[in-house]
């Protein structure tokens, strides 16, 4: 509800759009880095939306994986390989699963919500590693993709999937922003502060949590589809707890003041990871860990709190 933060947010979204569009003519490696970061960044955005309600999902990889596997299974087992159809299908299945799981999740808060989300994601992990038809722990590849009936190969494939990523990321960011300023988004944030008061003002906290949970799953599912299209492969690691932990970490590092923050946070993380692996292939985790530690110590409210401080009447 902070108008200053919202106007800066608009500028950041415009900046993000320019960067993503400019990368259409950038080298392949740079475009690929952006594509992977934005796809995973969408999942961190889903985590961030829930964090604004005071809920931390340690299992957001569930919807990332559902989106990715839905797209991959459709492409490989049914021959439906139009990238737009795959994006819609993966997102829809993630949303449908979240709608059902939401009836359970909306009853829990705090550590119980976090652990339950983790448990649900690890159930899927357990199923996938046992599923031989889906490649077990190795997963499987997506070979053929198309768009409007045209087969996509080589650089055209990358440009097409990247373009789809741009459209989906900007649409998700704008939808999230709209949601946060809407009646549901505004009242849902109040739940974090005082659920009892929300109920006694005449609104159902559970329904609002459910709304946000499904929206976060839709965005995360879309992120999973885009990731699967970018690398042409899915495997159970997408739903493993360490992957979900990474999304939480990025959301924490980025802060909750802007819908663009998790995307930029994920891009920074992937960039640091890429250079750390190039500089020190065997001990890159030490470099990555040191950078993360520095951010936590020096910018405890997240990277974006530096450029978008929240004015709270003198209260920090």
């Amino acid at each position: 509800m902070n108008p200053l933060a919202f106007s800066r947010d608009r500028l950041l979204i415009a900046g993000l759009a320019i960067v993503l569009l400019a990368a259409l003519v950038a080298p392949n490696w740079m475009r690929f880095l952006l594509q992977v970061s934005m796809s995973a960044g969408l999942v961190a955005l889903g985590v961030m939306l829930q964090m604004r309600l005071g809920l931390v999902s340690f299992g957001q990889g569930l919807y990332y994986c559902i989106g990715g596997y839905t797209a991959a299974m459709l492409a490989v087992f049914t021959g439906i390989n139009d990238i737009v159809v795959l994006a819609v299908a993966g997102t829809a299945v993630a949303g449908a699963v979240a709608f059902i799981a939401g009836f359970l999740m909306r009853r829990y808060r705090g550590i119980f919500f976090a652990m339950l989300s983790l448990a649900l994601s690890m159930i899927l992990y357990g199923i996938l590693v046992k599923a031989r038809a889906l490649g077990s722990t190795d997963g499987f590849n997506i070979h053929h993709l198309s768009l409007l009936g045209f087969s996509l190969q080589g650089e055209v494939k990358q440009l097409a999937t990247y373009s789809l990523t741009i459209v989906c990321v900007l649409a998700s960011v704008l939808a999230s922003r709209r949601y946060l300023s809407s009646s549901v988004g505004t009242v849902a944030e109040a739940i974090r502060e005082n659920e009892l008061r929300v109920e006694y003002l005449g609104s159902s906290a559970q329904v609002l949590v459910h709304y946000t949970y499904v929206l976060a799953a839709l965005i995360s599912g879309l992120g999973g589809v885009l990731f699967a299209l970018a690398i042409g492969h899915v495997d159970p690691l997408m739903v493993y707890w360490s992957t979900s932990g990474q999304f939480v970490f990025v959301a924490l590092l980025s802060g909750t003041v802007s819908v663009v923050a998790p995307l930029i946070g994920m891009l920074l993380l992937e960039t640091v990871r890429m250079y750390a692996m190039a500089i020190s292939p065997n001990t890159w985790q030490i470099i990555l860990g040191t950078v993360m530690l520095a951010v936590i110590i020096f910018i405890p409210k997240g990277l974006f709190s530096v450029i978008m401080p929240q004015n709270r009447g003198g209260k920090s």
Binding site: M1, S182, S183, T186, Y200, G202, G314
Partner: protein, 256 residues
């Protein structure tokens, strides 16, 4: 005429403990009803049952003739009964006007929209007006958690009034407020509530405040109503003097 609230043989037990028993009350529209009783007498249990915080063990609650027994708090609020709490229930990290805007958004939208903007010029105007009525206009940009106790209570009540309820229940509106602030705060509060024509039910320990503002009193003792009538009648009742006012006077004397 149908009473705005009617309770029939209302009872609430916690295991072997009877917190409220045989509560039969008819409250008419426009009344200002004061509830008195020592700690643990059943006052808050009574308010909690009416507002859906606690389901009664048995009995019925009627609102404007319709049975609302066992309804959820949000359903009861939507029907027209609002409440404030002994400990002010606000959104402490939001500003005062943001608190009010959340309350107005919920009040104005029967079904909250994920697309429609919550903050509109009209709602900001309405929020400012409401804060002005409760004497909080100067604090609108202050973080609610930093307000003095009395102002927090007023904000809690102002938010509860956003839905323009037919009945407003106040659970010890002056508890935690300094003696100097109390009378002025109640004057301000009752003025704002009466202006809206709301039926007021308030729990209070301070007999001066009860005497000044209630038109009728319910006195509770050990979960039962021991007196129900006009202010003068109840305050003069021997049972009330023994079990309620006497204890209150004794306690104050003990503190002195």
């Amino acid at each position: 005429m149908t009473p705005i609230i009617e309770t029939r043989k209302l009872e609430r037990t916690f295991g072997a403990v009877v917190a409220a028993a045989d509560i039969n009350v008819r409250i008419e529209q426009g009344e200002t009803l004061g509830i008195i009783g020592a700690n643990g007498a059943g006052k808050t249990t009574f308010v909690n049952m009416i507002t859906g915080h606690l389901p009664p063990s048995s009995g019925a609650i009627l609102f404007d003739g319709a049975d609302i027994t066992g309804n959820a708090p949000r359903q009861i609020t939507r029907k027209g009964i609002s409440r404030s709490f002994q400990i002010a229930q606000i959104f402490p990290d939001m500003t005062v006007i943001e608190n009010m805007l959340v309350a107005i958004t919920i009040a104005e939208e029967a079904r909250l929209s994920p697309m429609r903007a919550a903050v509109t010029r009209a709602r900001v105007e309405r929020a400012r007006e409401a804060l002005g009525q409760f004497g909080l206009a100067d604090s609108q940009d202050r973080v609610a958690g930093t307000l003095p106790q009395g102002a927090k209570k007023l904000l809690d009540i102002a938010m509860a009034m956003a839905s323009r309820p037919k009945v407003m229940l106040l659970d010890e509106p002056t508890s935690g407020v300094s003696t100097e602030e109390k009378l002025a705060m109640m004057q301000h509060l009752m003025g704002a509530l009466r202006q809206s024509g709301t039926t007021i039910i308030f729990i209070e320990h301070d007999m001066d405040i009860i005497g000044a503002h209630a038109s009728r009193i319910l006195a509770f003792y050990e979960g039962r109503i021991i007196a129900d009538g006009s202010t003068a009648q109840v305050l003069a009742d021997p049972q009330v003097r023994t079990h309620v006012i006497g204890q209150h006077v004794d306690r104050e004397a003990g503190h002195a």
